[in-house]
Amino acid sequence: MYPFTYSRATDVADAVRDKAGHGASAYLGGGTNLIDLMKYNVEQPAHLVNVAKLPLSKIEDLPDGGLRLGATATNADTAWNEQVKQRYPMLNQAILAGASPQLRNAATNGGNLMQRTRCYYFYDIETPCNKREPGSGCSAIGGYNRIHAILGASEACIATHPSDMCVALAALAPTVRVSGPNGERSIAFEDFHRLPGELPQYDNTLTEGELVLSLDLPEKGFAKNFTYLKLRDRHSYAFALVSVAVGLELDGDTITDARLALGGVAHKPWRDKSAEEMLKGQPATAETFGRVAAHVVANAVGQGSNDFKIELARRAIVRALQQATEGKQQASDAFLNSNP
């Protein structure tokens, strides 16, 4: 870990100004990822601006019927918020599928969007990694890549975005409100994270110095027919091999609206709008689900140790669509009954 200076911002303008006034600097939220990366020497900011105490922790109604999730609200406070539980239960499920209670108590919503990949090689500075050190090569290609991408990867990087919360967000499609040296702007969630291409060092489309202020959810929450299905190597405190967020609107057996997003398969939360279009107007049957699932993974590419994820993703999509249709959640996971 390298030495760094530290300050605590009093308001958003102060935070943006403070960060801009230092060279290699970073915003610090809950610190559940950044501090680890600093200890591994993966991140070496010379200055940290603590934004966790900024007045951005409210979860409040929006005039358009949506809900605003403050950037510094913790993951735990967000998941257990009454409005979130009632109106966006898919988000509640996704958040609770991630990390551990201790981490969710510390982690912030803004930080969740900003967390970095869990690629083994990204974390180990003794191995080449284009995301950590552009141009050094990708060790995961041809290496051990069980947790790596099958969709949208590039020859430079096959890392995945590790968040659960963001998979549900991809399905719910909020806008991300940010502020930076050039003022405030809103980014559609699907445009927030990016695919690696030739610039895998960039996880998202924020420009230098921009800070997340809130996530503004639209009114539609798919609160009746939804599911978040997460498949992993142990039943808690493990990142998704494949996860699926589904929201459906049904008229009898006919699907009238659909949202479908995958986690653990790409450099960003993978929302498939063409699959959503395929679902609309179709009967909610196994046949439909199988066809759509095959479509989603049609262009998937395995890298060796993650080849199984193509078939796993296909099956998981079918299961998630079934569960959402039946209004069921992932079976027998301890966290479902752990409301504090």
């Binding site: 974390y123 142990r234 808690s236 099956r315």
Partner: protein, 743 residues
């Protein structure tokens, strides 16, 4: 029963309050004055040479005190024997910072010492080290035909017994036969507590070492050998451990580094490893096993062949007993057991909970399940038909063996009789349920051990033995043994351990601590009891006049006649009347070879497991485990049960998720952290029933105790693997059983 009858009851941990209140101090927590901090730098290559350590570049940082590497390490002991600790296998022990040669990835190459931990860590990050890389080999699969017999084994290693009968012919002529290969990768112990050593510098060549270790005397032996210190000037202390599981049996490089720096700098130094560095020390070796079994028409075993090959380092022949168990577990007259090593560019493996047995048990117990199915028999019935009444490896009877009772009581508790034989026959929607079982066997060992006991005039008893406590409950059971032997309440007894100033005790491992240290404690208390009887008899009109020691008993703080309990004296009064302020005795306990010689000494267990497998998604959930254990006398039902619960956690981890992944391109482990090396969490754990099967055995030792640390883990992994087969009809032979193997 009396109030001072403690053995077998579920006394609370006597060290519990210290642990939960943060007042129990661990090796990296002794804040001695004027402490400097060391941080280790490790090699990023698996093989080659260090060509240059650019120490001068970081020595200029204010507060950096020293950089040690092979370039400047002082002259230390020359001969290998000085570096050989009690568990060193054949070969040449690794000498940190000794040469520029790199023989494994993450090999420690330098130590940076600074005024603060943060500064040492920063300077270590800046330190440039140049390497010359050479090709390495870390893939056991490339060494299948290059296995060799180990040259010299370590303590406890027994080469496989010679073949008996004609195993190859019997296998070929068998009515039914199977042949299968089983594999698992490397696994790391991953105790919660990191390896750390705080070396307090007292004077020239005089130190006190607070080290994370399962054997303070082993560390003392190592440090005095390597650094030429006298024992009097090298006290080693470890009173508490946040888990060891075998990783602390041998001295780790953390204590070498801290001692080196302390002696050189003439000040106190602490070195704490990182979680990543915890993957640069020993591990359960990557192992391949080949099993060939055959049966006769009546379902008896006609042939049993078990061969194992595992990795070791280039410099040591690490050994463990993998295949021997198979030759004693079932009755079979045609047996061949083979065991070989292969050298790779990795660090030496190291004993990890139930070393060898945990590996071999998966081989034999999954193969027995496969064999049962090939013969069309229920797996439990098949085992009962091949029950071994004698240990055929050594042709001796067992001193006691209640495995049959483990099978029956475990099966009854589990409801095994309702199990349909056919795989895939229990289904609920997309969930397939499977039931599997397996047995286990481990040695009941006793090592030489010493203890002392001192009763003071206030009625308090202090018992000492330099044993280790990794959290299993040693403090508590020793307190129970001492208190019961001298008829005192638990609160009147203090047991202390983990200090080379105390009477010598063996390494804390092998499940032998309860038997070894327990017997020493009992003997010391009996020796003290005899002194107390003599003192009592010196008093005028003593009601105990003329009584022999075996005619009296210590109960409720009194010493009294067995045949007439009204004839009693109060212990405290005895001491006061005698004018003594304290009475002390010590004793050595040795295994009674004369008594044990004609017998095979072992603990046994039987495990029954239920799993649910999602047919579409391949996810496995263990929903029930019954573990029936016959391990002689159980000293404390509560801590013993906890230890077996922990064993089930370990077995489940080995079955479903634990594996240290080697990237052969780099010859480096890639998942070297808690996020990616998965050990079970609460959400993975099912309801666990622990049954202790009553077993009396006065041959193993006077206490009749066999130890449970290892046996509690055995059978679990195989039972789960067998249950997965029963659920899915799919036999997974390479652990861990992760979901992709069931898609």
């Amino acid at each position: 029963m009396t109030q001072t009858n403690h053995i077998g009851k579920g006394a609370n941990r006597v060290d519990g309050p210290l642990k939960v209140s943060g007042t129990a101090h661990y090796a990296g927590e002794f804040n001695v004055p004027n402490l400097a901090y060391g941080y280790v730098v490790n090699s990023p290559i698996a093989k080659g040479k260090v060509t240059r350590v650019h120490a001068e570049e970081v020595l200029g940082l204010p507060g950096v005190l020293a950089v040690y590497s092979h370039e400047n390490v002082p002259h230390l002991a020359w001969f290998d024997r000085s570096y050989k600790d009690l568990l060193a296998p054949g070969g040449s022990p690794f000498r940190p910072l000794h040469t520029p040669d790199i023989t494994f990835n993450q090999q420690p190459v330098a130590l940076v010492v600074a005024e603060t931990f943060e500064l040492a860590r920063y300077a270590a990050a800046l330190l440039r080290v140049d390497y010359e890389q050479e090709p390495h080999e870390t893939n056991l699969g490339t060494k299948r035909t290059e296995g060799y017999l180990p040259g010299g084994g370590k303590l406890g290693y027994a080469p496989p017994p010679p073949p008996r009968g004609n195993p190859e012919k019997a296998w070929k002529n068998a009515t039914h036969s199977i042949e299968a290969e089983y594999a698992h990768g490397a696994q790391h112990h991953n105790p919660m507590e990191l390896f750390a050593a705080t070396v307090e510098w007292l004077a020239d060549d005089k130190i006190t070492v607070y080290d994370k270790t399962q054997g303070v005397f082993n560390v003392q032996r190592y440090l005095t050998g390597v650094f030429g210190l006298s024992k009097d000037n090298c006290r080693v202390v470890n009173q508490f451990m946040g888990g060891g599981f075998g990783s602390g049996l041998r001295p780790q490089y953390s204590v070498f580094m801290a001692t080196l720096a302390a002696l050189e700098l003439k000040r106190s130094v602490r070195v704490t490893l990182t979680r990543q560095q915890m993957f640069s020390i020993g591990h359960r070796p990557n192992t391949l096993q080949l099993l060939k079994l055959g049966t006769n028409p009546d379902g008896s075993l006609a042939a049993l062949q078990h061969h194992a090959l595992h990795e070791t380092s280039l410099f040591e022949d690490y050994t463990e007993n993998v295949v021997n168990w198979s030759g004693m577990q079932y009755k079979c007259d045609n047996v061949k057991l083979g065991y070989q090593l292969a050298q790779l560019d990795v660090y030496s493996p190291q004993d990890m909970r139930a070393p060898g047995a945990a590996t071999g048990n998966v081989g034999i117990e999954v193969a027995m399940d496969e064999m049962a199915y090939a013969a069309g028999l229920d797996p439990l019935e098949f085992r009962l038909r091949n029950y071994a009444e004698r240990d055929q490896n050594v042709d001796k009877p067992f001193s006691s063996k209640k495995l049959r009772e483990c099978y029956h009581e475990g099966a009854a508790k589990f409801g095994w009789d309702k199990r349909p034989l056919e795989p895939r026959s229990m289904r609920n929607g997309h969930l397939l349920t499977g039931w599997g079982m397996a047995g286990g066997v481990w040695d009941a060992m006793q090592m030489p051990s010493r203890a002392s006991a001192r009763l003071t005039a206030d009625g308090r008893l202090l018992v000492l033995s330099g044993a280790g406590e990794n959290g299993a409950g040693t403090y508590t059971i020793m307190t129970q043994i001492a208190a019961e032997t001298l008829g005192l309440p638990l609160e009147a007894v203090t047991f202390e351990l983990g200090d080379t100033d105390q009477p010598q005790a063996p390494l804390q491992g092998g499940s032998w601590t309860a038997a070894s240290v327990g017997t020493a404690v009992k003997n010391a208390c009996d020796a003290l009891g005899q002194k107390l009887l003599k003192l009592a008899q010196k008093q005028k009109d003593s009601p105990l006049q003329g009584a022999d020691y075996d005619e009296v008993e210590f109960v409720n703080g009194q010493l009294r006649l067995r045949r007439d309990p009204d004839q009693a004296v109060v212990l405290r009064d005895v001491l006061q009347a005698s004018g003594e302020t304290e009475v002390e005795a010590d004793s050595t306990a040795l295994p009674n070879m004369l008594k044990q010689n004609g017998y095979s000494l072992h603990s046994h267990n039987a495990v029954f497991a239920e799993v649910q497998v999602d047919e579409d998604l391949g996810t496995v959930r263990v929903t029930r485990v019954v573990n029936a254990v016959a391990a002689g006398r159980i000293l404390n039902r509560k801590t013993a049960r906890s230890q077996v619960l922990g064993g089930v956690v370990w077995g489940l981890g080995m079955a479903l998720m634990e594996e240290t992944i080697m990237d052969h391109k780099f010859g480096r482990y890639v998942n070297h952290n808690y996020a990616e090396y998965h050990i079970p969490v609460n959400a993975d754990m099912p309801d666990i029933d622990v049954l202790f099967i009553h077993e009396e055995d006065d041959i193993v030792n006077p206490l009749g105790v066999k130890g449970i640390g290892e046996v509690g883990m055995l059978g679990v992994t195989a039972a789960i693997a067998n249950a997965v087969f029963h659920a899915t009809g799919k036999r997974v032979r390479d652990l861990p059983i992760m979901l992709d193997k069931l898609l």
